[in-house]
Amino acid sequence: MNYVFQFGAVPREFGLLLQGAWLTVKLSAGAMFFGLLLGIACAQAKRARWRALRGLVQAYVDAIRNTPFLVQLLLIYLGLPSIGIRLLPGQAALLAMIVNVGAYATEIVRAGIEAVPVQHVEAGRSLGLSRWQVFRFIVLTPALRAVFPALGSQFILIMLASSVVSVISAEELTAVTDMIVARTFRSFEFYFVATGMYLVMSFAFQAVFAVIDRRLFGRWSRQA
């Protein structure tokens, strides 16, 4: 191998890389937050009495979980304009990530909700709590606490999957790296650095989730 690695260009472009990484963090955080809300709503809808609604949610979850994220993204970015919905790359990327993570979150949250004993709900009702209070304090909180580790892993996976949105040139870390590579021809060096940055981000998200877990759920033991 007579290739000379030249990491010299890396410091010069580092600011740009950081900007890209920041957009990755923002996109991921947005997808996690709204995806979780979507997941909670869908998990509830799956327990609804109305059968058509349950079927619809199941179809959504199955469709997302059995097709590649890249195809979902292209369908949203290139396909939606044919029916009059035009999105900027960043918007399409965020929407695709929310829709995607929402389906996975649905299944995880549902597992948590199903693990809540019926007796707890009955006890809450008999204490005169409203339906909303029962849902919020007796069903949702323990459910989220029980599945928080799984949710965290899933969220980190969507952060990693966000590199795919570079394909529609939303300017996150991977797209910025592609751009720099096209300009400097130092492909291996820059992809190497970007990969390291992703690794750091996934550790950072893990650390943040650990803190959230302690802050939010630390008062209760994990075992329900």
Binding site: T67, G79, S82, Q154, F188
Partner: protein, 224 residues
């Protein structure tokens, strides 16, 4: 020149599906071999074996698949060897699969109670024999559902090979879309093809899991 989307375009997509399937099979078989070696290292008593395997798994699970593809594609190029996208993709997906399978199988082996190992040892079986005759047969039962589940993740993941120019289903969709410019039809169709490949596998995984009674455990699944 804009062409109509006709049966011949549909036929072209179906033919490209072969490459998606073939790449998945190659990666799965290769990944199983490497992954099994990694599993053995990961559960070994010696730290010198365990640590590299842990690092290997952490790196592959903590970085985007797209970056791994780029690094391997451009990295092999640096060695002075010209490789086709097919070779690079096959290597990259093999390594990717091996890391995930190693982690899945490690979990399955470690789910076997310690008493099984001890019992086997007290029958004066050697380490290899304990593994082969006592632990692995039991672990295999637990390992089948998540392994099938991972196959879905791998199948979806191969869509990223399109980015380095390997003509599988997603790449073929881009080619067809460029000439027919009917993105909604093309990508919806491609999504349907992926779905028809992945859904039966997902169902199978769910069923096997339900039979083992582990379906209530929240499940994290790769989403690319």
């Amino acid at each position: 020149m804009i062409r109509e989307f006709t049966v011949s375009e549909f036929w072209y997509l179906l033919q490209a599906t072969r490459w998606t399937i073939l790449l998945s099979i190659v990666a799965f078989v290769g990944g199983s071999v490497v992954g099994f070696a990694m599993t053995l290292m990961r559960i070994a008593g010696s730290r010198a074996l365990r640590f590299p395997a842990m690092a290997y798994i952490k790196v592959f699970q903590g970085t985007p698949l797209l970056m791994q593809l780029f690094l391997i594609y451009f990295g092999i190029g640096l060695l002075g060897v010209q490789v086709a996208p097919w070779t690079a993709a096959a290597i990259a997906f093999t390594l990717y699969a091996s890391a995930f399978l190693a982690e899945i199988w490690r979990g399955c082996i470690q789910a076997i109670p310690r008493g099984q190992w001890e019992g086997a040892r007290s029958l004066s079986l050697r380490y290899g024999q304990q593994l082969r005759f006592v632990v692995l047969p039991q672990a295999l039962r637990v390992a089948v559902p998540p392994t099938v589940g991972f196959l879905v993740q791998l199948l979806k993941g191969t869509s990223l090979a399109s980015v380095i120019g390997f003509v599988e289903l997603t790449r073929a969709a881009q080619v067809v879309n460029n000439s027919t410019f009917s993105p909604l039809t093309v990508y919806a169709l491609v999504a349907a093809i992926y779905f028809s490949l992945c859904w039966p596998l997902s169902r199978l995984a769910d069923r096997l899991e339900a039979r083992l009674g582990s379906h209530l455990v929240p499940k994290v699944q790769g989403q690319v």
